[in-house]
Amino acid sequence: MNPLLRVTGLTKSYGPVEVLKGIDFKVAAGEKIALIGPSGSGKSTCLRCLNFLEKPSAGEIHLDGERIGVRLGRPMNDRQLAPQRAEMGMVFQLFNLWPHLSVTENVAIAARKVRGLSAREARELALDMLAKVHMTHRAAASPQELSGGQQQRVAIARALAQKPKLMLFDEPTSALDPELVHEVLKVMEELAAEGRTMLIVTHEIAFARDIADRVLFLDGGRIVEGGPARELILSPREPRTQAFLRQIRH
């Protein structure tokens, strides 16, 4: 079976600095993948290259058989990229909710403006998505009135409303107070149980172990080791993976 996402030879340089040095992996539909690694290992950059928020220097990304960011051998601009980006939901470390719009409108606006739903349909969809992240009770609120954990759950609802083929999570709990991490992880766990395809950059090793099917360990812009989550985290083979996991436990 064809993989849903295929990444081959992905590299990214900022001037002379090579942040990604050739990343290859595949994600099957319904699979949950955790990207772990020390800070500066390139895992966030890798995720941001998938929907071209960062333009890769080289390499190919295919989603559902379609080449992302390149058409007829030419790089696409942001306008041409828009429909491809809409296929991938993205959740950011800093939530990035839009402060001038209500919670409902944050979730509904793209459905109207990108997918052309009517105002009523978009609102219903938004309320459905807010129910999924247990935020219906704050539908009329302004994002600034919410806690970090609540904001992140709304941001997840916003991404879900795209009906994406793939969900990208860029350190979704790193900016949260410790007591708020749990509510976001719980929502993600529920999404995982629905069989969604998820790619998660995270420092929550226990979460990765329990939720992910596979874990990829990145260091120095390369995938050092990848394998079934439990196996890789409990008995890593590579010395660098061992050192990282030892460090993170202490």
């Binding site: 928020l53 828009a82 403006k113 941001a155």
Partner: protein, 220 residues
Amino acid sequence: MNRFIQPYVDNAGEWLPLLLEAMGKTALLSICAFALSLVFGLLLAVCRNTRWRWLERGVALYVATVRGVPLLAILFLLYFGLPGAGVTFDAFTAAVLALALAFAAQVAELFRAGLMAIPAGQREAALAVGFTPYQSFTLIVLPQVVRISIAPLIVTFVSLLKDSSLASLITVDELALTGRAMATEYFLPLQIYVAVGLCYFLIAWPFSLLSKRLAPPAAR
């Protein structure tokens, strides 16, 4: 005190219509100039953020030049100078243009500061849900810029209103010129200039209050 007040009582019937008409002219001049400076200013601010280096440099040069030259010089250049190059404006048009050109630079800087105040993540989140760059700007970035800029824009309008008095020097019959004419006619400069000052204040005061109300809490 009575000697100060009495002339107002005696002349109210003649002064009020004159002052009201002049106030109208000042308001019209200021509003036209400000509307134009909003349009110019937004264009300049957007040009300043483009990929085209030469456009960016040109705008920076324009802003620096206009800020370094007195408004009076721009006004005289347009009204007395340009006819030498075959371009003639009537006094009112010249005043509107001069004010608009000068204040567009300030408005542009305000919008630019507003644009820079919006975190990059706002636009990234917009692109990520599938918005085009145009949609990201108009639906997500611009409304936030307007919201941040509205209070300082009103402050700018008030200073434009006051600077519009310079138009009196190129014969626009607005408040300041009307005041000068009245002062000579009635030989009551003290009373008349106090009245003129009050007229400016009456237009400006509500806007000052409004800008305070609209300013974000931290700036109050």
